[in-house]
Symmetry: C2
Subunit: 452 residues, 2 copies
């Protein structure tokens, strides 16, 4: 029996077959000059900005990607590869440069979030893992920031592990949602690995295993006197609130951390629950809401005055339910010093090694300008940082709390129309005249039949 865990030892094979077959052709043909690849996103519905995340995992991969003897032995059995190329793979490592927009920065369509500069065999082989490891964190950090943007200081916690697409997505979602402004996660392993605060309440099964609800609440509160969020909706939410109050009082406790509502009309129930808790002397007890929560529901409930103090946001966060995938790509933009672009249908690419300059006006984000790498824009903040140089990591990742702080600061600098979760505004970067010139030149050559 196999499980299929991906780890440091086997991650090099977590790639599309064509990356390796193309690599063998390059190898056989002696074609291995420096290539520049851009990873970028295309405009998507329901998102006016994306929050960058996932870089830590990408760096780890590029530092550690190797083909083990077991990998090589498997590749030999496929019949696609010859011995000279398999020997090359035995010594394979990433020796190129990585430029990247930092985690917690906001990104917009067509911008090279990550730029790889490496011998083309290396730059090609890493493609699949690179996209896989970046897409999902960006989706979740963005969804989280959208929740944060409407939460008015209420507490957001990732409850999504069980509904994430597999184990790795559960880990990535916890980390990315923290970057997007969440206070923590229910995922214990993410707490351990990333140092993220962990949170938890109780399940319906806990109530049902007891003979009655009050006994269940008392059992829990006795063991966790400071830390009991009592789940009140197993039978009837309002009766549940009264039972919770009763349990806390019967235990003679002064402190009552709070309750969780997991179903029903959360506006009505939270208002009733607040009244009961206040009138029973538990003004500090918090009301946590969960069950199908997303940014739209948070906004609606808070707009209508729901006295909800915190949110367990699960499924819709971790699968980014209203946008479960990004239209993103990793495209060749330069080979051996020659700028290249793809012409097919509407999916044109921008040639050249690049830089992104971010322009602010009176502290508010105004626009981005994409330039050739060696151009300089006065007063612009260059976004692409050198992260790996000749295969060596030259960038120090900030702490996760610092990345979160940066993301929140960046949000505050957005123009108002981009902050509105009910609208989609596509803010495209300006493209410098030098890149535009190359685009025109390549289009001319293409129309003249010099490219075919």
């Amino acid at each position: 029996m196999v499980f299929g865990f991906v780890n440091k030892e086997n991650m090099s094979l977590l790639t599309d077959l064509y990356e390796l077959t193309m690599a063998q052709v390059y190898f056989k043909k002696g074609m291995n000059k420096t290539a520049i690849f851009d990873f970028y996103t295309r405009p998507v519905e329901n998102r006016s900005y994306l929050v960058n995340a996932g870089l830590e995992q990408l760096i780890y991969y590029l530092e550690n990607v190797r083909f083990t003897q077991e990998d090589i032995d498997y590749l030999r059995t496929t019949g696609f590869f010859e011995e000279d190329f398999l020997s090359y793979l035995k010594d394979f490592k990433f020796t190129g440069n990585l430029y990247a927009v930092e985690e917690g920065e906001f990104i917009f369509p067509n911008e090279p979030v990550v730029q790889v500069e490496a011998p083309i065999i290396e730059a090609q082989i890493i493609e699949t893992f690179l996209i896989n490891t970046l897409q999902h964190p960006i989706l979740v950090a963005t969804k989280a920031m959208r929740c944060y943007s409407v939460a008015r200081g209420t507490v957001l916690v990732d409850f999504g592990l069980r509904r994430a697409h597999g184990t790795d997505a559960g880990m990535k979602a916890a980390r990315a949602s923290f970057i997007g402004g969440f206070a923590g996660t229910s995922n214990v392993l993410a707490g351990k690995e990333y140092g993220i605060p962990i949170f938890g309440t109780m399940a319906h099964s806990f109530i049902l295993a007891h003979i009655d609800e009050i006994k269940a609440f008392k059992d829990f509160a006795e063991i966790y006197p400071e830390n009991s969020i009592l789940l009140v909706d197993t039978f009837d939410s309002i009766k549940g609130v009264y039972n919770a109050v009763k349990a806390i009082k019967e235990l003679g406790m002064k402190h009552f951390k709070g309750i969780r509502l997991d179903s029903g009309d959360l506006l009505k129930l939270s208002k009733e629950a607040r009244k009961i808790l206040d009138s029973e002397g538990f003004k500090d007890a918090k009301i946590i809401a969960s069950g199908g929560i997303n940014e739209y529901k948070i906004k609606e409930l808070l707009d209508k005055g729901a006295p909800i103090d915190g949110w367990g946001v699960g499924t819709e966060l971790v699968v980014s339910a209203d946008l479960p995938y990004l239209d993103c790509a990793y495209k060749l933009v330069e080979y051996d010093g020659r700028p290249v672009m793809k012409f097919s249908s509407k999916k044109k690419t921008l040639p050249h090694k690049k830089q992104i300059f971010r322009i602010y006006e009176d502290g508010v984000f105004k626009k981005d300008i994409i330039t050739r790498f060696d151009e300089d824009i006065e007063k612009g903040k260059p976004l692409l940082k050198k992260v790996i140089e000749n295969g060596k990591v030259v960038y120090k990742l900030p702490k996760l709390t610092e990345i979160q702080k940066k993301a929140i600061e960046n949000f505050s600098k957005l123009p108002e129309e981009l902050k509105d979760i009910t609208k989609t505004v596509h803010l495209y970067p300006e493209v410098s005249s030098s890149i535009q010139k190359t685009v025109k030149e390549l289009e001319r050559k293409y129309l003249n039949g010099e490219l075919q």
Copy 2:
């Protein structure tokens, strides 16, 4: 720097905090009688059936879940746990029973796909991982089967690794889509780990790195004379087909495996491409289509007569784009011999340890009947098999090819209206009178205030 890989050693912590805090309360209160939990799905949009998958990973987890010293040390630092409970965790393993519907069987709303019978602490702790490891494979196997059901014998290949939500989802998607009738995957690691056939073509970057398209095609076809699917849409798809033909002819090759169309009007382009290939003497050359493919597009294109021989199905398959999550739950249905149910809002549960009997009529699936575990339905096929007994695996997983065969056979036995991808029909199982009697009894007790 940490990567966050989940593996055999740390997977026990891949759980929601509340599983462990509830477990500590049970432990402290000496409450650890046998519990029965059902994992089941609720009705969803766009799916008239679900294809079961993910069992192999669940079995591996239940066989191997342990808390290491490192896990215990971390849990101690959280402040949530006391030493006696941490000692208990040190010796923790799953000692219960697992009943499951086999992979490749079709499942319907409210049916216990998996049933766990174990001391409640064990049954509770495994909840999060169990749901995480089952949901995504079921989503993908189902999406794959929907593609298979309209593909009329054309070849389906999973191209989705890059857009899957993290590394594990990429692995699970390859395995689950194979169960759902796919011929293979582009994911090399899935090929190695699961023995799934691997497929690949070439990328736009390969064309762009060359000075011209014909040279690129020739380079590739020289190295892979039997196995070159040439990607023709980098500049212009039809010109690309001519260039592909030219490359093959200039190499003097008799065999031409085929071309891939990745953008544009696939109906028009595939028809034109077919004409060109045929008239140039390459009647055997295949046309593969990719780019935003899903079951609806496959059906539409084939209905309109597109001469497409194979499909690279990526993003929409692996994220199950039109249904990115299941409404699924893991609920307590019996504790210490006492049947229990949850009453909140519309999410009622069915009490008791159960069996599902599947009834066929003239070889066509007619209905399922959910009974108490010890009831017997004449001529019904019991679906829940004993997989783990007292912590030991007693079930031999079929080969993946056998599971696929079973899934395809099961599909053929569905009534026609359930096969139609354009309709959603919710086929609910019958509930036996003995379970209905318990439901009524519990409702009566609840209304009388005996349950609260």
